[in-house]
Amino acid sequence: MWSYEKRLQYPVNIKQPNPRLAQVIMSQFGGPDGELAASQRYLSQRYSTKNKKVAAILTDIGTEELAHMEMVCAIVHQLTRDLTPQQIVESGFEKYYVDHTLALWPQSAGGIPFNSCFFQSKGDPITDLVEDMAAEQKARTTYDNILRLVHDQDVCDPIKFLRKREIIHFQRFGEALRIIQDELDRKNFYAINPDFAADQCK
């Protein structure tokens, strides 16, 4: 069960529209390393994990990713609010506009639609947590790439906040992986799936 709070995790107040930048930033909504993929990755993976700490971290980071998705969408929305047809054509936003007007739709900056193949839910906490750590780094790189293109402080500020959260999440997933590995049977040094048929490894 989730309960909506009518506030953003970190404020987004953009005064200057910039549809060209919006088209880049929307990748962090529906792109391969975006917040939608992140939230669904962790919230899908949590059901099969038997470790209570790992179930908690997947639930709570997955939930925070939903709030990050909302922030990215708020940025894209505010960058494309009240555009004129002339601004749309001049900024190259017309290819998105023709299908979605000024609505939010999950796709990458290059126009590739959101796809659940952007993430895995493998039912093995070691496999999943290693993927989760990589995912946080990929998202951090994407925010670094975005920051090189942004000159508006109103946009820079929330993007920097999101970038820092990727680093924290990477740290927490690293701890979760260590917790799982510490609890493994000593003989399971290849770290074979502790959540399924663990007896076979003993």
Binding site: K6, R7, Q9, Y10, K15, K53, Q78
Partner: protein, 83 residues
């Protein structure tokens, strides 16, 4: 900054500290310093949310005070920004 903005900024800041502490406590559930910090911030946040809800409207729909109207839809949605 008027009182409403101050209160909202307090909710944003204290909520964020709790968001961050929540993740830390998931992997360090017995850390005394983190637990004490949680307890302190939780109280500040609860008071700020209560006062904001009473004066300016609900942040969470469970807290809507139905006084012949549905206040949940009245205040702007968060993605609209404040400019």
């Amino acid at each position: 900054m008027d009182n409403r903005e101050k209160l909202f900024a307090c909710i944003t800041a204290t909520s964020f500290v709790l968001d961050d502490l929540r993740l830390f406590l998931d992997t360090h559930p017995t850390d005394r310093e983190a637990l004490a910090h949680w307890e302190k911030l939780q109280k500040v946040r609860n008071e700020a949310v209560e006062e904001y809800t009473k004066c300016y409207g609900p942040i969470n729909s469970y807290d809507v005070d139905v006084n012949n109207k549905w206040a949940w839809i009245e205040e702007p949605w968060p993605w609209e920004g404040r400019c």
